[in-house]
Amino acid sequence: MCIVLGMSVGHALLGLLEGGPRHGYDLKRSYDERFGQDRPLAYGQVYSTLARLLRNGLVEVESEPGAGPERKKYAITDAGVSDVAGWLAQPEKPEPYLQSTLYTKVVLALLTGHDAADVLDAQRAEHLRLMRELTRRRDGGDLADQLICDHALFHLEADLRWLEVTAARIQQLAAQVRA
C-alpha cells in the first residue's frame, strides 16, 4: 500500500525541505526512505509536485548556472513553512486508511520540531466529535441506522487505539526519526 495518499505528497516534500534545500532526486530519495516503502514516488510526480509548490510560492529555486531541471535545488519559503505548520495543526477528516496520512504527519512533526503529541490529540478530538454524532444517530435510529453507525464507530475506535499506541511510543519514534 502507498504510505502517503496523493493529497499529502506536497506537504511531505515541503516538510522534508525544512531540513535544508535539496535537489529533486535527493528529495525523492529521502521521501522513499521514510514514506515510500512499498511504492516509491515517480520522478515525474516529484517534479510536477515541486512545480505546483513553486507556482504557489511555497518553494523557491536556487539555480545553478546552466543547469537543467534535475540540477535545480529547491528551498522552502516562509509561506511553505507556515503551510506545513497549518497542515500539521489541522486534523484530518476521519475516514478509512487514515493511518498513512497520520503516520506521515507524526514523522514530519518530529522532523520539523512541532509537537507530535499535539497532532495526535487534535486527531483524537476530531474522531471523538464524529463518534458522538454517530452515537446520537445510532441511539435515536432504527435497526439499519444502528448497524451502519456501529460499523463506522468500530472503525473509528480502531483508529483511536492506533493513536493511543502511537502516542505511547512517540519518544521511541522521535529517537528513530532524528537518528
Binding site: A117, D121, R124, A125, H127, L128, R129, M131, R132, L134, T135, D139, L153, L156, E157, L160, R161, E164, A167, A168
Partner: protein, 227 residues
C-alpha cells in the same frame, strides 16, 4: 463568557510512595456536562477522579466545588458534602449483597433521613427509569451484570446529586450491555441536570460525553470544548 465551573482541580500532585500518580493535573467540570477522563491505564484517571470527589487528598494543589475549597475542609464536612451532592458508580462491587436491589437504591435516602416508605417509592421510580423494575426484589447477585450496573446508576442518582463520578462504569460489561447502561445513565443524568465525570479508556463509552480530557503521566493534556 463561559460560566464558572462547578468543580475545579488546580495543579494536583499526588504520590503513592515513590510512584507519582498526579503531576500538576488541572481540570474543570461545568454544571450539567458529561466530561470523559480518558487515557491509558495507570495514567492517573482514577486518582484524579478520587481527588475531585474528595475521597483522596492531594499532596499539593486545590480542588474547588461550588466555590468551596474541598482540600481545606474537615473530613466530616467533606463526607457530608459527598453524601448530599455527589453520586458514585464504579466498575463493580458497589451494591450491598445482603440487600435487595430496591433496598440498595433506597439506602442513600434512608441514610439521609428519609422515611422507609418515601425512600422505597423513590427507589422504585428510579429502577423503573433505568428499566430494571423486575430485579427490585432480587439481590444484586441474582441480577445480570448489566442489570446490576443499572441498579448502581439508580442508586447514584436517587439523591439527585449535582455531580456523578463514574469510574469505568461499563468496564465489566459486553458492548451491547455497556451501551445500554451508558444510554440510560447519561439520559437520566441530563434529566436531573447532574454533571458526570466519566473515567473510561474506551472511545465508544467516551462518545457519550460532551467533552473529553486526556490524562497522560498524571497530567491533563487536553480539554476540548464543543463549539
Amino acid at each position: 463568557m463561559a460560566p464558572e465551573p462547578l468543580l475545579t482541580a488546580e495543579n494536583l500532585h499526588l504520590s503513592f510512595g515513590t510512584a507519582t500518580a498526579l503531576d500538576s493535573a488541572s481540570v474543570e467540570v461545568h454544571a450539567g456536562e458529561v466530561l470523559a477522563l480518558m487515557g491509558p491505564s495507570g495514567s492517573g484517571k482514577s486518582t484524579l477522579l478520587h481527588c475531585l470527589a474528595g475521597i483522596l487528598h492531594p499532596d499539593q494543589g486545590r480542588v474547588t466545588y461550588a466555590g468551596r475549597d474541598l482540600t481545606a475542609m474537615h473530613d466530616d464536612e467533606r463526607s457530608a458534602l459527598r453524601r448530599s451532592e455527589f453520586g458514585f458508580v464504579f466498575q463493580f462491587g458497589q451494591l450491598v449483597p445482603e440487600l435487595t436491589c430496591l433496598e440498595n437504591v433506597a439506602l442513600p435516602l434512608r441514610l439521609g433521613g428519609a422515611s422507609r416508605r418515601a425512600a422505597q417509592r423513590s427507589a422504585a421510580a428510579w429502577l423503573e427509569r433505568l428499566e430494571v423494575s423486575d430485579v427490585a426484589h432480587k439481590r444484586p447477585g441474582q441480577a445480570s451484570g448489566g442489570q446490576e450496573q443499572r441498579v448502581a446508576v439508580a442508586r447514584a442518582l436517587v439523591t439527585r446529586p449535582r455531580v456523578v463520578f463514574a469510574d469505568e462504569p461499563t468496564g465489566a460489561l459486553d458492548t451491547l450491555n455497556g451501551e445500554r447502561v451508558m444510554q440510560l445513565f447519561v439520559a437520566a443524568a441530563r434529566e436531573t441536570a447532574a454533571a458526570v465525570v466519566l473515567v473510561t479508556h474506551e472511545p465508544r463509552v467516551a462518545a457519550y460525553s460532551d467533552h473529553e480530557a486526556v490524562v497522560r503521566d498524571g497530567r491533563v493534556r487536553t480539554r476540548e470544548y464543543a463549539r
